[in-house]
């Protein structure tokens, strides 16, 4: 640590430049990780919602609903169908409005429509199923979320591809800038390196301080970028709370491990921080290793 501080004092501009470029790269990496994870978990959440919900007229005979359900099942395009009768609908309504007794008093099970929650095997079957349901005389309303789902799928896919391209650019830019900065540092320590060589210092002995500095610089840059992201995240938390109103939680299934993303979860943040730190350490050591290999 003492050597690290002395090295910063000896080459303050180069060390600051190293820190800033690493901070920039890691801040953006962390931002991308959080954004992608968030959008993926949002997508997973929407995918678990019924893709088509069809509401029947309140007095529709259950047998007619079952007939439609069976016809849909027989089409081979359905993954699952869930029937919600009036009583169940009323239970759901009560649960949703438990804090509002006035609303509960005004509604009874009789006036709530029975419904079918339908999940298709493939999104392309959804318009066809919706059309079929709309033609049924007992159907009152068909809620079809394909547009939202498609838009989110597109958005997530674009975000993923853009992030990947941006990430590759960021990686290359950081490596090249760090190599150039390390080259400067080596040039500034040319006389010291010459003396060390004449005294019989091994290559690894001369290289070690550069690698040590790169390691600590990456640690400081990742801690700084994580702190700034935390501040931003908590600053915007009220906005996110209102934006995601109605969504109790968002999570992502990674290798059969369910990771909670929203509400803000420290496990998720810690994992993001560790990934960013490892990336920072790797990129910093890799660049310094290349530079010392070439210029020492």
């Amino acid at each position: 640590m003492k050597d690290f501080i002395i090295s910063i004092k000896r080459t303050p501009f180069q060390s600051t430049a190293s820190f800033l470029i690493l901070f920039f790269a890691l801040f953006l990496t962390l931002f991308l990780i959080i954004t992608i994870t968030f959008s993926e978990s949002l997508l997973s959440y929407i995918e678990t919602r019924p893709q088509i919900t069809t509401y029947f007229q309140p007095k529709t005979n259950e047998n007619e609903i079952f007939k439609i359900r069976d016809e849909l099942n027989a089409s081979g395009k359905i993954l699952s169908i869930k029937y919600i009768n009036q009583k169940q609908a009323f239970e759901i309504y009560k649960k949703m409005n438990k804090d509002n007794p006035l609303l509960l008093e005004m509604v009874s099970a009789d006036i709530l429509p029975p419904s079918l929650e339908i999940y298709a095997k493939k999104p392309i079957f959804l318009p066809e199923i919706a059309e079929y349901l709309k033609k049924q005389p007992t159907v009152d309303e068909v809620q079809f979320q394909k547009d939202i789902l498609d838009r989110l799928l597109n958005l997530t896919s674009i975000l993923r591809n853009v992030s990947l391209a941006f990430f590759i650019y960021l990686f290359l830019m950081t490596v090249i800038v760090l190599i150039a900065i390390t080259h400067f540092k080596i040039a500034l320590k040319k006389e010291e390196i010459e003396i060390l060589n004449l005294l019989g210092a091994s290559y690894s002995y001369i290289q070690k301080p550069f690698l040590k500095e790169a390691f600590f610089m990456a640690i400081f840059a990742s801690i700084s970028s994580f702190s700034i992201i935390l501040v931003i995240l908590f600053y915007f938390q009220p906005f996110l709370n209102s934006y995601l109103q109605g969504i109790s939680s968002l999570s992502l299934n990674i290798l059969s491990f369910n990771l909670l993303i929203w509400p803000i979860n420290w496990d998720f943040l810690l994992i993001s921080f560790l990934i960013t730190s490892f990336f920072g350490i790797f990129i910093s050591l890799f660049s310094t290793f290349l530079a010392t290999k070439k210029y020492l």
Partner: protein, 226 residues
Amino acid sequence: MIVFENVTKKFPLGNVALDNISFSIEDKEFVFFVGPSGAGKTTIIKLILKEIEANSGSILVDDFDITDKNFSKTLILRRNLGIIFQDFKIIYEKNVFENIALSLLVLEKYSYAQIKEKVREALEIVGLIKKEKVFPIQLSSGELQRVAIARAIAGERKIILADEPTGNLDPKTTWQIMKIFKKIEKEKTIIFTTHNVDIVNSLQKRVIVLKDGKIIKDIKKGKYEF
């Protein structure tokens, strides 16, 4: 022991720095290399340090044939050599202690306590024990050269290569430096290049005189008149 046998060194532009020279230096021998500028004194030092390669001939340093094409022990070779230059080659961002400790740290075998002890021993010899925490910028030329000598003698470096170490010093400081060399001469092999006749003549050591890359005299013990 250092043995040069028919060593020739030519630089790329064709100038001959050493022309088929041979000599041998025993362990713990003190040898002055004298001669005008361009005679080849510094080339000998650089060849021993393996900073440059000879074009022909062989050089033995402590049983290592350093002219062998397969020689790969430059690190071990240099760890046995203490070097002192006219321009001191001191690191100005490190204090006196750290500059000397560098000579031991590069060996990667001593603990901090051992380094501290050995640095202090070297500082005692050169008379800078009270200045171990001082930075080079606060030292005089003579003191800087003493730091360089302490760095060269710290640890177990058997051969001291002093390339005109008194070239930048006034007469009084020169004699103070020579007293230090007198102190260490029984422990180390010393190769000392100089222009200073007074030093050579007063110490009465072996003198090898070079001119145009050739040895023109090898006086075992005695005075030399330029």
